[in-house]
C-alpha cells in the first residue's frame, strides 16, 4: 500500500466510523462534551462575577488576584493534572472525595485551567467599556448596580467570546485530564475498534492512546476530525460574536 493509499484508506474508514455513528466514537465525543461543557459553565459562573468584582471593586489583594489570573491563563495543563492528582489520590488531602479517575476529577482540572482564561478575557472586555458609558449611566440617574448592568451589556460580546475561548481550550486540552481521568474505557471492543464505551476517555486522550497502538489510524483520524469540527464551530461562533461587537 502506497503512502497516499494509506492516508486515503484511513480517511475513508474514519468518515465511515463517524457516519455510522460508531458507539465507541460517540461515547468518547459525549464524555468530551460533557466534561469540557460542564467545566466551562462552572468556570463562567465563577469568572464573570470575579471579573466584575475586579473591574468595579477596590479591595486589598486585588492586584495579587489579577497577577494570579494572568499566571493562570498560561498554566501548563500537565502541572494542573499533577496537582489535582496529588490532591485527589486516596492518600491526598481531598482523597475522601473519591473522585480520582472519574469525569468529576476531569471537570475539576479543566475548571482550574479555564477559569483564569474566562476571567482574564472578560476583564479585558469590561475594562474596554469606555468610562464615559459608566458616567452616562450615573448622570442619567443610574445606580452602581445599573452601571454594572450597563457594563455587562456593553461587554456582552466580549464575555461570550471569553466563554467560547475557555470552551475551546477545554476541548483541546489533554495533559490534565489524561492524568486525573486515566483515559478509561470499558473492556471489550465495539464495532471492531477501540474498547468498550468511554468512562473517562475524551477525544484528545483517545487520540493519544489510539495513535500509540499503531496499525490502523482510522479511529484517531475520526476522533481528530470530530475534535477539529467542534473547535472550528466554537471559533466560528467566537468570530461571529467578535464581529457583532
Amino acid at each position: 500500500m502506497s503512502s497516499a493509499d494509506f492516508l486515503v484508506h484511513g480517511l475513508i474508514k474514519a468518515f465511515e466510523l463517524i457516519f455510522s455513528l460508531n458507539p465507541y466514537i460517540l461515547s468518547i465525543t459525549g464524555v468530551s462534551i460533557k466534561v469540557s461543557g460542564t467545566a466551562t459553565i462552572l468556570a463562567a459562573l465563577t469568572a464573570i462575577p470575579l471579573s466584575f468584582a475586579l473591574a468595579f471593586l477596590n479591595f486589598r489583594g486585588k492586584q495579587a488576584v489579577i497577577t494570579l489570573i494572568n499566571t493562570g491563563m498560561g498554566l501548563p495543563p500537565v502541572f494542573v493534572g499533577l496537582f489535582i492528582f496529588v490532591m485527589l489520590v486516596p492518600a491526598g488531602p481531598l482523597g475522601f472525595a473519591d473522585i480520582i479517575f472519574t469525569p468529576s476529577a476531569m471537570i475539576l482540572a479543566q475548571y482550574i485551567l479555564v477559569t483564569p482564561i474566562i476571567t482574564g478575557i472578560s476583564l479585558s472586555a469590561i475594562k474596554a467599556v469606555p468610562k464615559s458609558i459608566i458616567e452616562t449611566v450615573y448622570t442619567l440617574g443610574g445606580s452602581r448596580k445599573d452601571a454594572i448592568i450597563a457594563a455587562l451589556s456593553e461587554a456582552r460580546f466580549g464575555i461570550i467570546t471569553a466563554i467560547l475561548a475557555g470552551l475551546g481550550r477545554a476541548l483541546s486540552e489533554v495533559g490534565a485530564i489524561l492524568i486525573v481521568g486515566g483515559n478509561i474505557a470499558e473492556t471489550g471492543s465495539i464495532g471492531g475498534i477501540g474498547e468498550g464505551l468511554s468512562k473517562t476517555r475524551t477525544l484528545t486522550t483517545a487520540i493519544t492512546s489510539e495513535t500509540s497502538k499503531g496499525g490502523d489510524f482510522s479511529t484517531p483520524i475520526a476522533l481528530g476530525i470530530i475534535l477539529i469540527t467542534l473547535n472550528l464551530s466554537v471559533n466560528l461562533l467566537a468570530n461571529y460574536f467578535q464581529r457583532r461587537d
Binding site: P130, S132, I133, E135, T136, V137, Y138, T139, L140, G141, G142, S143, D146, A150, S153, E154
Partner: protein, 229 residues
C-alpha cells in the same frame, strides 16, 4: 478644586437662577468641564459646598436624578435609539406606557421621530448628539448641564441644537448651564454669562452688560477673540 498640584478651580461663588440659560465661557482648559462635573458629583470640591434650591446637597442620587449632564462627545449605549433615550426613565422604574410616550415626545423635540428602532451607533455625529439630548431631557430634569454640546457639529446641527435648547427652556422652564467657548452662540442664546479663565470666575453679568461693557480686561480680550492662550 485641585488636581495633583494644579488648582483647577479657584474660590468659585456662583448662583444660577431657575429657568435661565447661563453660559459659562472661557478658553479650553479654563475649568469649564471640571465645574460641570463638580455640579454633577463626578468630582468633589476640597472646600465649600453646593446648594440645590437653597438646600445643601446630600444623598447624591436623589439630587443627581433632578439634573442631567450632556457630555461634549456623547457616550452611546450599544442599543437602539429608543432604548438609549428610554434609559433614564427605566432606571427610575417608570412604567412602559409612560416611557413610550415620553421617548416619543423627546425624539420629536430633537427631530429624530421615526428613528427609534435604529441602532444608535449608526447615527451621524449630529444625530447622535441630538439623541443624547433627547436622552438627557426625557425625564424632565430641573437642571441641564451642557458641556460644549455643539463643539463637533456642522452649522446646521449647531442651529438645531440651539433651537432645542431654547425650546426646552421655554416649554419646560429647565435651568440650563451651558459651558462653551463659542462666543456667537453665547450671543444667540444666553441670558447671563460667567467668564472663567484659568479656573477663576472673573466676571458674571447679563449677556447684554457683559458684551457692551466688560468689567475686566481679560473678559474683554476673550469676548473679542483677542486673547492668546
Amino acid at each position: 478644586m485641585v488636581f495633583g498640584e494644579k488648582e483647577v478651580l479657584k474660590d468659585i461663588n456662583l448662583q444660577i437662577m431657575r429657568g435661565e440659560i447661563f453660559a459659562l465661557v472661557g478658553p479650553s482648559g479654563s475649568g469649564k468641564t471640571t465645574f460641570l462635573r463638580l455640579l454633577n458629583f463626578f468630582e468633589r470640591p476640597e472646600k465649600g459646598n453646593l446648594e440645590f434650591n437653597g438646600m445643601e446637597t446630600s444623598g447624591i442620587i436623589n439630587i443627581r436624578r433632578r439634573m442631567s449632564l450632556l457630555f461634549q462627545t456623547p457616550a452611546i449605549f450599544n442599543k437602539s435609539v429608543f432604548e438609549n433615550v428610554a434609559y433614564g426613565l427605566k432606571v427610575r422604574g417608570i412604567d412602559k406606557k409612560t416611557i413610550e410616550k415620553k421617548v416619543s415626545e423627546a425624539l420629536d423635540i430633537v427631530g429624530l421621530s421615526g428613528l427609534g428602532n435604529q441602532k444608535a451607533r449608526t447615527l451621524s455625529g449630529g444625530e447622535a448628539q441630538r439623541m443624547a439630548f433627547a436622552r438627557a431631557i426625557v425625564y424632565d430634569p430641573e437642571i441641564l448641564l451642557l458641556d460644549e454640546p455643539t463643539a463637533n457639529l456642522d452649522p446646521a446641527n449647531v442651529m438645531k441644537i440651539e433651537e432645542i435648547i431654547k425650546r426646552i427652556r421655554k416649554e419646560r422652564e429647565t435651568t440650563i448651564l451651558l459651558a462653551t467657548h463659542n462666543i456667537p452662540q453665547v450671543r444667540r442664546i444666553a441670558d447671563r454669562v460667567g467668564i472663567l479663565i484659568n479656573g477663576e470666575l472673573i466676571e458674571v453679568n447679563t449677556k447684554n452688560a457683559i458684551f457692551k461693557n466688560p468689567g475686566d480686561n481679560r473678559s474683554e480680550a476673550f469676548l473679542k477673540g483677542e486673547m492668546i492662550y
